[in-house]
Amino acid sequence: MNKIAAIALNTFRESIRDRIFYSLLFFAVVLLAFSMVLGNLTLAEPVKIIKDFGLGSISIVGTLIAIFVGIGMVYKEMEKKTIYVILSKPIARWQFLIGKYCGLSITIIIEVVVMTVLLFVLCYQYVPQIPFTLFYAIVPIYFELQLILAVAFLFSTFSTSFLSGMFTLSIFIIGHLTKDLKMLAQSGDDIVFQKFANGLYYVFPNLENLNFKARVVHNLGISLPEILFSLLYSALYTAVILILAIFIFERRDIP
C-alpha cells in the first residue's frame, strides 16, 4: 500500500511539475473567462451560459488531461527508460499501474476542484448564492474522466502514445454516440445495423449515462438513484478496464 502511495505521489508530482497541466488549466480558465463575455452578449440568463461553459470546460479540459497525461504515463516511462529503475525494485506491476492511476486521479481531482471553485465564484458574481446543485453534474463528469483515464492507461500498456491517444479519443466519441446510434438503429429496419449498434452500445462505455449537465443547468429534477447507478456503472466499467490493463501489462516485456 505504501508503495502504491509512493508511486501515486510521484506521479502526481510529475503531472504538477509538468507544463501540460498548467497549460490545460490555463486553457480552462480562459474558457471560463470567455463564458463571461458570451454571457454578456446574450440578452438574458448569463448564468446559464456560464454554467454551460463551466461544466463544459471541466469536462473538455479534464478529458484532455486524462488523454494526454494518461497515454504518456506508462509509455513515456518506457520511452524515457525510467521504468527500469522502478520495476527493478520489489514492486509488482499491478502496484505500479494502480499507483500511476491514483496519481493521475489526484491530478484530475485538482483540475476539477480548481475549475469548480472558479465556476462557483463566477456564478456567485451573478446570483449571490453557491450553486451546489452543480455537483450533480460535476461528480458524474469526474467519474467519466476516471473512465477515460483508465481507457488511456489500457491503450498505453501496449501501444505508442500517439495511437493510444487516437484510440482513447475514439472511445470517448463512440461512448457519447452509442446511445444515439442505438436509437437510430432501432428506428430503422436494418437488422444487421441494429445488431451492430447494440454491440457497440454494450461493449463500449455509454458515457451519455454520465451527462447530467443540461438537466442540472436547467434545474430539472434528477433522481438520486439515477445518478448513483450511473456512478456505479462507471466505476465498474473503470475497474474492468483497469484489470484488463493490469492483465496485459503483467504479461508484457519491457523493451
Binding site: 440578452l43 466519441i173 444515439d180
Partner: protein, 301 residues
C-alpha cells in the same frame, strides 16, 4: 545592429500580415447566408457535439442574435432565422430564452407568424414548467393568435394557461376575460406589446414594438373620435333634418367645439354614401398581416 534588423523585419512582416488580412476582409466578403446554407440540422449537430450540446447551443444562439442584428440594420431579410433558432432549441431544448426571443422576433420583425407559433409550442413542450419565465411562452402564443389571426378565443385560452405559471402578472385573468367578452378590441394587444418591450434589449425591436403600440392607441383614438363625431352628426340631423356637408358645419352650429385631431396625421370626413363619419387613414400597418393569417387558420388543440 542585428537586433534592429530583426525588429524592422518583424514590423515589416506584421504590417504585411495586417494588410493582407484587411485585403481579404474587404475584397472577398464572406457571404454568411451562403455559409448558413450548410447549417446542419439540430439533430445532426446534437450527435456531433458529443456531450457539449449546450455549449454549442449557446454559441449558435449568440450567432443568431448577431445574424438578426446585422440584417435588421441592412436588408431585413431573415431567411435563415427560423432554422437557426430551430438548431439552438434542438441542441438545448430546455433553454427558455431562445423560444421567447424567437417567438417575438419571428412574428413582429420577420412576419413568420406560423414559425413563431410552432417555436413557442416547442418551447411549451420542452422548457421546464417551473422556469420563472415560462409564462411568457403561452402569453406570446396567445398574442400571435389574437393579434395576427384574430382568433380571440384561442388567445384567451392561452392567456388563461399562462396565468397558471409563476411570475405571471396579475392583470392576465382580466385580460383573458376581456378577450372572451369583447372579441373585437384590438387594443387588447397593448399589454402584450408592453411586455415584449420589457423583455428585450434590442433597440430596433423596441422601436418597432413602440410603433405598434402607438398605432394601436391611434386605432382606439380614431374609434372613439368617430363615435363622437357620428353622435354629433346625428344630433345635427335631428335639428336640421339633413346631413352636414362638411364636418366644420358641426362647429359653426355649436354642436362641437372642434373636430378632433387625427392621431396618425389623417383627417375625418362625412361620407354621404354610407351616411357615416370616416377616417382618411383607414389601413393601418397593423392589419397588413391580416390577409396572410386568414389563409391559414391554425388553431391549437
Amino acid at each position: 545592429m542585428r537586433n534592429i534588423l530583426l525588429i524592422t523585419l518583424l514590423i515589416f512582416l506584421s504590417s504585411g500580415v495586417h494588410l493582407a488580412s484587411k485585403h481579404i476582409d474587404d475584397s472577398f466578403k464572406f457571404d454568411e447566408t451562403e455559409y448558413l446554407l450548410y447549417l446542419p440540422s439540430g439533430k445532426f449537430l446534437q450527435g456531433a457535439a458529443l456531450c457539449y450540446d449546450e455549449m454549442l447551443a449557446d454559441f449558435m444562439f449568440i450567432k443568431t442574435i448577431g445574424y438578426l442584428g446585422s440584417h435588421a440594420e441592412t436588408d431585413r431579410n431573415y431567411t435563415y432565422l427560423d432554422q437557426m433558432l430551430n438548431v439552438v432549441t434542438t441542441l438545448d431544448p430546455f433553454y427558455e430564452f431562445p423560444y421567447e426571443f424567437g417567438g417575438i422576433v419571428l412574428a413582429t420583425e420577420v412576419g413568420k407568424v406560423d414559425s413563431s407559433i410552432s417555436l413557442l409550442k416547442k418551447g411549451m413542450e420542452n422548457v421546464p414548467q417551473n422556469h420563472e419565465r415560462y409564462w411568457y411562452l403561452p402569453f406570446y402564443y396567445a398574442f400571435n393568435f389574437m393579434y395576427y389571426k384574430n382568433d380571440y378565443l384561442t388567445a384567451a385560452k392561452y392567456i388563461e394557461l399562462s396565468t397558471k405559471y409563476k411570475n405571471s402578472p396579475s392583470y392576465l385573468p382580466l385580460l383573458a376575460a376581456r378577450l372572451r367578452a369583447n372579441t373585437e378590441s384590438p387594443e387588447a394587444a397593448i399589454p402584450f406589446l408592453q411586455e415584449m418591450i420589457k423583455s428585450t434589449d434590442n433597440e430596433t425591436l423596441k422601436n418597432n414594438l413602440a410603433l405598434r403600440i402607438d398605432e394601436l392607441k391611434a386605432v382606439k383614438q380614431v374609434k372613439s373620435d368617430i363615435q363622437l363625431l357620428e353622435y354629433a352628426v346625428k344630433y345635427y340631423y335631428s335639428i336640421y333634418n339633413k346631413y352636414p356637408e362638411y364636418l366644420w358645419e358641426l362647429i359653426i352650429t355649436g354642436i362641437i367645439a372642434k373636430v378632433p385631431e387625427h392621431p396618425m396625421g389623417g383627417s375625418y370626413y362625412f361620407s354621404h354614401q354610407d351616411k357615416t363619419v370616416k377616417s382618411t387613414f383607414k389601413t393601418l400597418p397593423l392589419y397588413i398581416d391580416k390577409t396572410r393569417s386568414l389563409e391559414i387558420k391554425a388553431t391549437p388543440k
